[in-house]
Amino acid sequence: MTVSRTNEPRRGRSLLPVVLGMMLGALAMLVGLAQAGRLSPRKPEVVVALGQLLEAEHRRVSLLVERGDIAGAIEVLEALRKQPWPDRETGGDVGKQLRHDVYGRLLRLRLDHPKVLPVGPAALLELADEGLGSDALDVDTNPFTARLTALRGEVLEQLDRDDDALTAYEAALEMNRVLLERELQESPP
């Protein structure tokens, strides 16, 4: 009897910090994203729809790669490449990062499997440049842009454009260094 009587306030008491934590977490995330300039898509619904589409397609690609169907995976990503991508004003930084993720995955697959649906290094460079776009450096530092920039360096190396390759590697290294610093600034592991 005593237990059941005092159990109700206890349950309420144990739930309260969880609810408060969730609310504070959501608020902190929104403030953080806004401060980082990442929450500025003019049409957030476009980014949400794009994110949902890409999540499904990335899973499909993973499944195809798992089955060894590299050509199928490349075709899926090439189809995504042809879809209309939101510009930075419409989709914000998040839209650009989603794009860099898809292009990076496609370029990685093409570089790792040059004999599957083969294309020349010039076409690969075109792929990298198309993916990064003209405003890649304006996008907040993130792992997807860093990876695509590094892959562009690999393509440039294939084209014997070593100076440009080194520039790309330096840019990618700097992005990764910034990301690492951000992780370490939170608190030392």
């Binding site: 005593t2 190396e157 590697y169 330096e170 290294l173 990764n176």
Partner: protein, 157 residues
């Protein structure tokens, strides 16, 4: 209200029924086995069984008085509360471990990326001997790689 029935007698009967009900409920709730309660259909054996049941109930009763029982309940409740607190602590520690593991995973991933890039840059430096830009980029990238490795090594496995 019908015929010559008096309200006082009716209230008296209700009060008596309530008192009897409360007594039997108290016994059941206090832990006495319900099977020892006399059956209302066995009127002839009712009184002797009542006495036997009462003795059995007294003998089976773990505590001498209510204070002792209350102390036992309080002790059990304290133990339960302690276990609950331990569970909450363990849950919180698990969450911290999870976020730390995810962060260390990211740190290791970034360290790998940085060191792979450093290898590529140093590979280019080998292909371009005597060119200061390549040599300098290689040395700087190796420093960055070393720092990233150290950060990754500070992470628990």
């Amino acid at each position: 209200m019908s015929g010559g029935e008096r309200p006082g007698a009716r209230w008296g009967a209700c009060l008596l029924a309530l008192m009897l009900g409360a007594c039997s409920a108290t016994k059941v709730h206090d832990g006495a086995p319900a099977s020892v309660a006399p059956s209302p259909t066995r009127d002839g054996e009712g009184e002797s069984m009542k006495a036997e049941a009462s003795e059995e109930a007294e003998a089976a009763w773990p505590g001498e008085d209510l204070d002792e029982l209350d102390a036992e309940v309080q002790q059990a409740w304290s133990e339960l509360e302690g276990l609950d607190q331990e569970r909450e602590k363990a849950s919180a520690a698990g969450k911290v471990d999870g976020s730390m593991a995810a962060r260390c995973e990211r740190i290791r991933g970034l360290a790998d990326q940085i060191c792979t890039l450093s290898q590529r840059m140093c590979g280019l430096a080998v292909e371009h001997p005597g060119q200061a830009r390549y040599a300098s980029a290689c040395v700087q990238s190796e420093d960055t790689c070393e720092r990233a490795r150290q950060a990754a090594e500070r992470c628990p496995e």
